[in-house]
Amino acid sequence: MSITTTTDLPAPIRQSLAAGMLSVPTPNFNYIIPADKYAMPRNGGTTMRFLRPQPLTPPTTPLGNTGIEPPSQVATRNIIDATISFYGTSVILNEQVIIQDQDPVLSWLSERLGVAMKQAEDAIIGNYLLSAASQYNCQKGTNGDNPTEPTLRDFANVNAALDTANAFKFLSGKAGEDKFGSAPIRAAWFCLSHTLLSSTFDVLDGFISAWNYPNQNDVLYSEYGSVTNFRILTSSTAIVQSTASTNGRDVYNNMVVAREAYAHIEQDGYSSQLIYRPPIFSGPLALNGTLGVKFAQAQVITQDTWIQNMRCTAAL
């Protein structure tokens, strides 16, 4: 057969794959960032147990000169437990895909599985925090809803609550520098927010965009800016409760967290396992391989006064 048009080209040269796969939209995984990382030992049971000592009463009263021993105190500690769960997923890969279509398919599937696993880690922590963290409803805004949009006063209220609870900050402040438009940044806790609140933050009194920091040292990839003592990280997968406000608008759950507020626990040797089973295991014709990922995880709030779910709606 004579070849007179491009449609007559034989199959092998009718298409060529572009080098490399196209980008995959991937959210920021912020909930994992402030978590304290722990690993349970292998064969260490199903539960990670944390002990949190209760403070002793400071002995501020003079002992006097009677020689009588003062009463002793009872030392106590809180016991906080977290139970490990297992998670995983896999994909099935037909050998014809590799032979006829995409030779590096195992590579990009490995990447996708890894991202899926990290996203699962993050989502599980976020959902747990939504269920367990104490709540503050923003109430100083003017959008007429409950909760309202976040205001400087709301951030200040939560700021004061964490400060009063003597919560640890993550980051030291940034001193002002002689750069036009920049402003000093306070020592900070994190506020884990949604990307849809970006426009709300842009009109928030006291908000300093990350690009208006005195310098870009230690600015995180997902960092949008700062207000009072909070560095705001945004993600498109932050927890939103659909139509859950008084007026039926979406409620955003901003987790304001201090250092050591919650823990992410993996089981030693099982934090992430990528499993490949070649087609030979699938049957007599060895048609299908599998590629999967599995991991073990637990999460728990370890300092209950060092985290608050600051709920808000968006500004009008």
Partner: protein, 333 residues
């Protein structure tokens, strides 16, 4: 069948009374599920006069609508059974998520009575559901709190442990509600305080079944608008529990009363009064932070024979669920 396919089977018996939907928690969302209903407590559930009567066999396959089923139902007095298709009351594949809310429904209000009664036409809830109440114009202090509901009829339900709204200034003239699909996805979880009884020990009532246990340590968050500010921030050990209440080792005899804020105060913005488990006794693990999410299948129920897969009390139900790596959807000649 290849290594990638899975079949699980089992059985359960429906409750002796108050039959309800059944949830099969499985390690996968099935592509195919079948059930065989083998009779009621008298060993014979085919005496119903309904036509079609109780379902004997039902199946659902991936591609069918969620909540549907293809059934074989008993036909009263006939030698043959009836085939039927259920568009609801069938099988609903489920992957639970902590942050999953149902459709927002609006209603006409909440009565100022004991218990307060919410009116939403054809709400579709069942007793025990946890529902977020919002937009209670005139009674805004109820808004933003998830409540366990007790269904009165198809259009009304009460809140919590027969929660009384008689002391509020006015009835609500509007209401909106959203069902929390999986309120216990993680345990222990935050609970919402709706009543506190003071004394040498303190009894706290929550808006829904808290799931707490004796010897767990809880901490209270009581914003100033809720009256009992002395309780805010205190920790106590639980000494007794009921479904909605727990007793905690805090002497509240001298505390000011716990009271819902007025509607006007709530409308101006208020955070809920809550309690959370922060620790537990060394000998128990009930307070261990646990992920209870699951996948599986919900099997529908109805009090009307034939209207759902399950309708009989004390019925033995055999089930088989299958997950296939590949589902062929086209015919070849």
């Amino acid at each position: 069948m290849s290594q990638y396919d899975a079949v699980l089977s089992g059985s359960f018996t429906t409750p002796a009374s108050g039959n309800a939907v059944q949830t099969l928690k499985l390690p996968f969302v099935p592509d195919l599920i079948e059930v065989w209903v083998q009779g009621n407590s008298s060993g014979d559930n085919w005496t119903s006069t309904a036509n079609p009567g109780p379902v004997k066999y039902a199946m659902w396959q991936s591609g069918m609508a969620s909540g549907s089923a293809l059934c074989t139902a008993n036909t009263n007095g006939a030698a043959t059974d009836t085939s039927s298709y259920l568009s609801s009351g069938g099988f609903t594949p489920v992957t639970s998520q902590a942050n999953l809310y149902g459709t927002r429904q609006t209603g006409s209000g909440v009565t100022q009575a004991s218990p307060g009664v919410v009116t939403i036409t054809s709400h579709g809830y069942t007793s025990g559901d946890v529902v977020l109440i919002e937009g209670t114009t005139g009674m805004l202090q109820l808004s933003g709190i998830p409540w366990q509901v007790t269904v009165i009829n198809a259009n009304t339900f009460s809140l919590g442990n027969s929660f009384s709204t008689a002391g509020f200034a006015a009835a609500a003239t509007a209401v909106a509600a959203q069902k929390l699909s999986y309120p216990q996805a993680f345990t222990p979880q935050l609970a919402y305080i709706v009543k506190v009884t003071t004394g040498s020990t303190t009894v706290v009532e929550c808006s829904y079944a808290h799931g707490y246990a004796v010897n767990q340590v809880v901490r209270f968050n009581v914003p100033s608008q809720w009256g009992m500010t002395q309780l805010n921030g205190l920790q106590g050990t639980i000494t007794a529990v009921t479904t909605y209440t727990f007793t905690v080792s805090i002497n509240s005899s001298a505390f000011t009363a716990f009271a819902f804020p007025t509607s006007a105060v709530a409308g101006a913005g208020v955070s809920p009064a809550t309690v959370e488990v922060i620790a537990e006794d060394a000998s128990i693990f009930s307070g261990s932070a646990t992920d209870n999410n699951y996948t599986g299948m919900i099997i529908g129920n109805s009090a009307t024979a034939g209207a759902a897969v399950l309708s009989e009390n004390s019925a033995l139900v055999l089930w088989r669920a299958q997950k296939s790596s590949r589902v062929y959807t086209s015919l070849t000649s």
